[in-house]
């Protein structure tokens, strides 16, 4: 369920734009937090209702951006960029490494429910490639050891 606070916040954000479409990204972000890191059908309908937009519009938006999840996720979501710069510096290998370590394919959640692994396009950190985003934090200039350390620190 959307918390009352989020509903109010979504309404406020909506009021800041002439066109409700423009406020969709922050609204969906709030909803995703309320729903435990992903957007079930109900969440999309709820956002659509507050924004007075069609569920198809909101659902399509959520399906476009990799930062929104439409499946249940683990406690942490790992986004690995495999776009050009990162790939040149070994991102594909690191993605494989992560998959192996967690026992998942991209898009899946580890058996212990801790991690969901997602392959994404450029996150705008090409200068420090290869990189990944875990939840809301960037981790840059990655190596296998660095990944081990980062994951170990996350509950």
């Amino acid at each position: 369920m959307l918390t009352d606070k989020s509903k109010e916040e979504i309404r406020r954000i909506r009021g800041e734009y002439p066109d409700p479409d423009s406020a969709l990204l922050p609204a969906l972000y709030l909803a995703q937090k309320d729903y435990g890191g992903w957007l079930p059908e109900e969440a999309i309908d709820a956002v659509a209702e507050i924004m007075e937009l069609a569920p198809a519009r909101v659902g399509a938006m959520a399906s476009f951006y990799t930062l929104f999840q439409r499946q249940p996720v683990g406690r942490h979501v790992i986004y690995v960029c495999t776009n050009v710069a990162c790939s040149l510096l070994g991102a594909e290998h690191l993605l494989e490494y992560l998959g192996h370590k967690l026992g998942v394919e991209p898009g899946e959640t580890s058996a212990d429910g801790r991690f969901t692994l997602v392959e994404v396009e450029c996150l705008g950190s090409c200068g420090t490639a290869p990189m990944m985003q875990v939840d809301e934090h960037y981790f840059e200039n990655l190596t296998e050891e660095k990944i081990d350390r980062i994951l170990a620190e996350l509950a």
Binding site: E41, I44, L53, A54, P55, A56, R57, V58, G59, A60, S63, F64
Partner: protein, 870 residues
């Protein structure tokens, strides 16, 4: 936005001038320079999604999408003279085709497919792509009417934009991204829009195809005949695509005055009644109590002898004719001519008659420019869908407000305009109250034309919004909100429907017994009309237009299928008019007004009515009492498409043609005369109405009158109509065929006075505490639709809608099986609890229950009071 200023530019070395605000694509097209497009559609806002229309514009880096690039003064554009642009477009086609399946031989779009055409015209002609093509879902039903092939989709957004921009039903969208992008609905929900069929037409590939037309024919096998949709009063212009003498599909025919380039799904998909196996294919004559097939000469002979016998024994007052709002003008005209000149009586009527004082809507496209639209007992979404589309245009593009005054919510309530949900029977009080609230906003009659505005204030004293809250069930705040909106409106319009007219008799409490003279009964709707006129006058003499339900409602009245009116709505009691008609028709005519339908039924009860001819109407289905009485008429003749309830009571049944099988004309809700053209042969021995009437007349009239019945085609009938009907002298047949011809409108005297209407509170009946109101659904099991199998899947089961408060009080829950009980009868139904109906009111849709709702009505002028019991 287009302005008056002209811009000059060069396209492919051609000097072109066009208005500022045009796009390069529009300028080129107007100059006859072809630019291929996929996403661009002239009725949709440009998006620039497909890159098909790339052109070179001097001074800009890279190629530009001409469908979004605005023209500028001095611009130099190269379309076909730029090798770069030509190559880019060629490459674009090649790209589109890499993943496009080679389905053409089995694709319904083949033969009318922009992708095929452009691949030939602008593409490379062959493919270098040998890899595996991308696979997506191929046979994906998006609902009852459309099947989607995602592999064929070129992601052009047209379908999405149409549903969003025009229908306000944003049900389709593109999901995912990149190569995996798919067109679909959210979570696989079925499409519900009543406009979805239009996406099939505008899809530039075969991604969206009709489930009804699928694999029925290759498009080049169809003969497309221009026609008119017969399913509501709008009369959308269509093409009937016929193959092997069967209507396979209906597509819209452009008419900017009526349907633009669209039609609703009912008009598009509900055509199979035309070719239904239960169509009557031969005349039927009752022998030993059973209706048996007969030849035309046998059947017509029986009818002629039957009518003659009654004329000889009982005189012309013992015969009557009932026409219809669904048949052509030619049929109606000849029918009344026959009844008047051959049967010598004015006992003529039709059901759902438009009251003489109601004014037709002036124009459909003008609705777009109204800022406040008042819907009074009218639900365009179900009753006249194209009207809804124009209203939505006003709302979605220009922010118009819709005020809904109706006992139950309607689809157009969704735009947040106030909903004044009154208890049926309290409508007059409510409208008085709205007037009063308008005066309270400080608004006086805007034009200063009215002579008695001060009196109005005094009359309306008892109708303060707070005072009527209890009787009408409408919150004072909602009334005031509506008044505020109207007071500020610059271009308001009032649309009212048949359900509003019923407020007249209900609200004036002057219940007449059935059988009272017809003028008195007709007078009962007067208060409802007067109040509409009052409101229009107060708002500054604004337009108020009637939105009827049936296809040819205006035609039936205009052709004179009425006890009191000749064609052209001229009174039968006027001697001069009568002698004019008599000379046209070659026969003396009765000078006395005839019986209306209720009068006929009284006569039937008193056994004074010995013969009746019913053309294209099924009163037995719509009125139980009438059904019983019709059964008592000794000689009943019914002419129709199917063996209806009424037809099964007849002595002789005559098989008629449908709109697809005979030429004729009809008058739509804005008064346009439109041509209907035969697109196929009728089934079996079925014959056109004009032919049947003419044949019968020839059997009955004496030799010297034979010439008066020498019609050999419906065009001849129209010739005579053009002479007889005032204003039709300059009938322009070419215009009538092309897009409709508008006869000159009689100059209406501008109203200057408010009419006092006393609203009486309807009496409560503790035993039957609720008021039943009925209304139409878009898809129902009515006369024609119930023979249109594809739309039957979307007809809901019968239900009765009740307000949560009332449901609580009577212990009813959603889904409960109940009986609706009135003083006249009872009916089984299922409860739907919803706050979309006013408290104290229950709503039941027409033509979906197993039994007709008419069992609950004791006379057809008022809403019955009911109780709902488990």
């Amino acid at each position: 936005m287009t302005t008056d200023r002209m811009v000059h530019l060069t396209i492919d070395d051609q000097e072109i001038g066009c208005p500022e605000g045009w796009t390069v694509y529009e300028a080129a097209t107007a100059a006859g320079i072809h630019i291929p497009t996929f996403c661009h559609h002239e009725k949709l806002v440009p998006v620039g999604a497909c890159r098909m229309c790339l052109v070179e514009i001097e001074g800009t880096l890279g190629l530009q999408t001409s469908c979004t690039a605005p023209v500028r003064e001095g611009m130099v554009v190269r379309v076909h003279t730029s090798p770069r642009a030509v190559e880019a477009r060629r490459a674009n086609i090649e790209f589109l085709l890499t993943n496009h399946p080679l389905d053409c031989p089995v694709c319904d779009k083949g033969g009318e497919c922009p992708l095929q055409d452009q691949a030939l015209l602008d593409g490379p002609g062959n493919s270098r792509y040998v890899e595996e093509k991308r696979h997506k879902s191929k046979r994906y039903p998006l609902g009852e009417f459309i099947v989607l092939d995602q592999e064929r989709c070129v992601l052009c957004w047209r379908c999405i934009r149409f549903l969003d921009e025009w229908a306000g039903d944003h049900e389709l969208d593109l999901f995912g991204r990149g190569a995996g992008t798919r067109l679909t609905t959210f979570q696989g929900r079925p499409l519900t829009s009543k406009w979805q069929g239009n996406t099939i037409d505008i899809c530039p590939v075969g991604a969206l195809t009709s489930r009804i037309f699928r694999f029925e024919a290759r498009v080049w096998e169809l003969t497309n005949t221009p026609s008119i949709c017969p399913l509501c009063s709008v009369g959308c212009n269509t093409f009937l695509g016929v193959k092997n003498n069967e209507v396979r599909r209906i597509t819209p025919r452009e008419n900017p005055e009526i349907n633009d380039v669209w039609v609703c799904d009912k008009g598009r998909f509900a055509h199979s009644f035309v070719d239904h196996p239960e169509r009557l294919t031969t005349p039927l004559v009752r022998r030993d109590g059973k209706l048996e097939p007969a030849t035309w000469s046998e059947a017509l002979d029986v009818v002629a002898r039957g009518f003659k016998a009654v004329l000889d024994q009982d005189g012309s007052q013992a015969i009557a004719g009932l026409g219809s709002t669904r048949v052509s003008n030619e049929a109606s005209y000849l029918f009344q001519r026959f009844v008047r000149s051959v049967l010598q009586t004015n006992n003529l009527d039709h059901l759902e008659r438009m009251p003489s004082g109601a004014t037709p809507l002036q124009s459909l496209p003008n609705l777009e420019h109204r800022d406040v639209i008042v819907l009074l007992g009218a639900d365009p979404s179900t009753e006249a869908p194209l009207v809804e589309l124009w209203i939505k245009k006003a709302v979605l593009r220009h922010g118009a407000k819709v005020i809904v005054i109706n006992p139950h919510k309607i689809e157009l309530s969704r735009y947040g305009g106030p909903w004044l949900g009154y208890r049926p029977g309290s409508g007059l009080a409510l409208l008085n109250s709205l007037m009063r609230a308008l005066l309270d906003t400080g608004l006086r009659d805007r034009t200063g034309r009215a002579t008695n505005v001060d009196e109005v204030r005094a009359w309306l004293e008892p109708f303060g919004p707070d005072r009527v809250e209890r009787t009408t069930g409408v919150q004072a705040a909602a009334i005031r909100q509506a008044a505020e909106l109207l007071a500020q409106a610059k271009q308001p319009i009032i649309l009212y429907g048949p359900n509003w007219l019923l407020e007249g008799p209900a609200g004036s409490a002057a219940l007449l017994p059935t059988g009272a003279p017809s003028e008195q009964r007709a007078g009962l709707v007067r208060p409802a009309l007067d109040l509409v006129a009052n409101l229009a006058l107060l708002l500054g003499g604004v337009e108020a237009g009637f939105v009827p339900w049936d296809h040819n409602t205006l035609g039936a009245l205009e052709m004179g299928v009425a006890p009191d009116l000749y064609p052209g709505q001229q009174p039968v009691t006027d001697n001069r008019v009568r002698s004019r008609m008599a000379s046209f028709w070659g026969s003396a005519l009765s000078p006395v007004r005839g019986l209306d339908f209720d009068g006929m039924m009284v006569a039937a009860r008193e056994e004074g009515l010995k013969a009746m001819w019913i053309l294209g109407a099924d009163p037995a289905r719509h009125c139980r009492v009438a059904g019983n009485l019709l059964g008592q008429i000794p000689f009943l003749v019914v002419q129709d498409l199917f063996l209806t309830d009424t037809a099964s009571l007849a002595e002789v049944v005559l098989p008629a043609t449908s709109f697809a099988e005979s030429d004729g004309s009809a008058i739509n809700l804005t008064g346009r005369l439109q041509a209907v053209t035969a697109a196929k042969y009728p089934p079996g021995q079925a014959r056109a109405d004009w032919w049947i009437i003419t044949q019968l007349a020839r059997l009955m009239v004496p030799p010297k009158q034979q010439r008066a019945w020498a019609f050999s085609s419906p065009q001849h009938v129209l010739d005579e109509m053009a002479k007889v009907l005032p204003g039709y002298r300059n009938l322009d047949r070419a215009a009538m065929l092309a897009g409709g011809w508008q006869p000159p409108r009689p100059q209406e005297a501008q109203r200057r006075v408010f009419t006092r209407v006393n609203a009486v509170t309807p009496k409560e009946d503790p035993e039957y505490p609720l008021v039943l109101c009925t209304g139409r659904l878009l898809y129902d099991r009515g006369a024609l639709l119930h023979h249109a199998e594809p739309v039957q899947h979307v007809v809901p089961e019968g239900y009765v809608m009740i307000h949560p408060g009332d449901a609580g009080q009577y212990g009813l829950a959603d889904g409960d099986g109940v009986s609706l009980v009135s003083r006249a009868g009872r009916l089984r139904s299922t409860v739907r609890v919803s706050d979309e109906v006013a408290p104290g009111t229950v709503f039941a849709p027409l033509n979906v229950n197993d039994a007709p709702l008419s069992v609950l009505f004791d006379d057809r002028w008022t809403w019955p009071r009911v109780q709902v019991v488990k």
